[in-house]
């Protein structure tokens, strides 16, 4: 099988993320691949279907920059702060472009990734019953247990064209190790056709750690070394969450112009991370 290769973030994004692709950037508060998201904006990708359980400010930035025409998600907010203003502006006023949404619950999204990672077309769960999501979301259906006759909920697998995650370490062979809260990243990588992993550093050999998850180099496509690539999210053992940044984002993103100048100053003129 093809093995992971190393590349610069700009080169990796240019290779793996194309206009119109279905792209999942995952990371559950911890290890969110912000730098990779910024590089996607910098390369002016458009027409993306963005997938993520918890779209937060990195997706607010991608949506505000006009990279996405569809969002598949289960919770879109600025954790502990409030609304995602760019996300709201896109849904409420089609700015800068209309944003189609496919809305699920966390349980549904998690199971959709599990189905993708398992090579299954769908997953079954107890979920959504009685909610208005059932009528609004075409990718929620019922399925009957062939043994008990009980009616349950089915959701289709998520199979991103590319999944992007941030991890603490890669070794020289492109194997990847992450630890701490690892959320749904393993499933998101295994569900995708290709995977880009940004890492804090490259080490000669992994030190086994409690709770560590290792992704072998034969399920990773590219590794880009991007220290601090999760900021303002954090990488356990390397950085702490920059909570002020999340608070500042509320003001920056509230207004279209202040957002645009932020993109110009902090993404476009900033150059690669």
């Amino acid at each position: 099988m093809p093995l992971a290769t190393f590349a610069g973030l700009d080169e990796a994004v240019a290779d793996l993320v194309h206009d119109g692709d279905t792209v999942a950037l995952e990371g559950f508060t911890h290890l969110i691949p912000h730098a990779a998201g910024h590089e996607i904006i910098r390369q002016r990708r458009t027409g993306l279907t963005l997938v993520r359980m918890t779209p937060d400010i990195v997706y607010d930035q991608l949506i505000g920059a006009g990279c996405a025409t569809k969002l598949v998600f289960s919770w879109g907010g600025n954790p502990g702060v409030g609304s995602l203003h760019r996300f709201r502006d896109a849904v409420e006023h089609d700015w800068p472009v209309p944003l189609e949404i496919e809305e699920h619950s966390h349980a549904g999204m998690a199971n959709r990734y599990v189905a993708g990672a398992s090579g299954m077309p769908f997953a079954v769960l107890r979920g959504y019953t009685g909610t208005d999501l059932v009528a609004r979301t075409a990718t929620i259906k019922t399925i009957t247990c062939p043994f008990t006759g009980e009616v349950l909920t089915a959701v289709p697998a998520i199979r991103p064209d590319v999944t992007v995650i941030h991890a603490q370490q890669a070794d020289r062979n492109g194997n990847v190790m992450m630890w701490g809260i690892t959320g749904v990243q393993k499933e998101a990588v295994l569900a995708a056709r290709q995977a880009l992993v940004t890492v804090e550093e490259v080490v000669d050999e992994f030190t086994p750690r409690p709770g560590a998850v290792v992704l072998p180099n034969w399920v990773v496509t590219r590794v880009a070394v991007v220290p601090g690539g999760a900021h303002p999210s954090y990488a356990d053992g390397y950085s702490v969450r920059d909570n002020e940044y999340y608070q500042r984002w509320d003001a920056i993103s509230r207004d279209r112009e202040s957002f645009r100048s932020w993109v110009d100053d902090h993404i476009m003129r900033a150059g690669g991370e």
């Binding site: 508060t29 911890h30 919770w75 849904v91 619950s105 199971n111 107890r126 393993k186 356990d236």
Partner: protein, 257 residues
């Protein structure tokens, strides 16, 4: 003039609703504050489950996000997000789920999705479901914590994100929802509980200083007041000390680490 705020009263009342030794599914914000207050006062053996995958977290300070490092470090076990929902929440292993709401109706159905306009172009696009629909369905019981106002307490929610009692008695059973549903709704004015016969939320407690008129005014349906309406015990000095210490120290480690 009370030496505590209505938000402090609300948080203390929410903490008191957690018995010692129960397993509690906690969201960030007030539920997390209340759960950590309970763990430091009357419920030292409360088991906190955060959807980020931390089972039995014992944070030394209030986490500012669902995925704070302090949750992982202090947890009995850190598991994946699919496992949280499939192995722990879905089978009914969680006793109490804490939920907030942008809108809640007379049958305790919750909306955190859209308000006004139509679904594609709502007047207000809210964050959405998160873990709430399955928390509301699968936890043995649910506690809702939300400030009371006519905008929030609506006769019918614009969108049912999480099911309380649906359209009334028998609906949860018809839908096959396994948990008992909302046991109480704790607000800044008092406590509402579902009437055993009608499932409609009725006023059962007022917090000290709050009046029936205020509660009625802040409710978008004709609010039934229970005959045995009680007054909540005010926060004790000990409760306030712990709560304020918690909030003063919130995320402290995050900054200094």
């Amino acid at each position: 003039m009370a030496d505590w705020t209505s938000d402090e009263m609300m948080t203390v009342a929410a903490a008191r609703a957690l018995y010692d030794g129960v397993v509690c599914f906690v969201g960030i914000g007030l539920p997390s504050t209340a759960a950590n207050l309970a763990r430091r006062t009357h419920a030292p053996n409360l088991v906190l489950v955060y959807e980020s995958g931390t089972l039995g977290a014992k944070p030394a300070h209030l986490p500012l996000s669902i995925g704070d490092g302090v949750l992982a470090e202090s947890a009995d076990s850190v598991i994946t997000v699919p496992e949280v929902f499939n192995y722990w929440l879905q089978p009914g292993r969680v006793d109490i789920g804490f939920l907030g709401a942008a809108q809640i109706d007379r049958f305790a159905n919750i909306n955190t999705t859209v308000i006004g306009g139509d679904y594609e172009h709502p007047k207000i696009r809210l964050p959405g479901a998160g873990g709430a629909p399955e928390i509301a369905a699968s936890c043995r019981e649910v506690i809702v914590v939300v400030r009371q106002s006519r905008r929030t307490f609506t006769d019918r929610v614009d969108f049912v994100t999480s099911v309380g009692f649906g359209a009334g008695p028998g609906d949860r059973e018809r839908l096959g929802l396994r948990g008992a549903g909302p046991r109480r709704v704790i607000t800044d004015l008092g406590v509402l509980e579902p009437d055993p016969d009608t499932c409609e939320l009725v006023l059962t407690h007022l917090h000290p200083g709050a009046t029936v008129e205020q509660a009625t005014e802040a409710t978008g349906w004709p609010l039934v007041v229970r005959d045995d309406l009680a007054v909540t015990e005010p926060p004790t000095g000990a409760e306030l000390d712990v709560l304020r210490a918690l909030q003063a120290g919130a995320g402290g480690r995050q900054q200094t680490a």
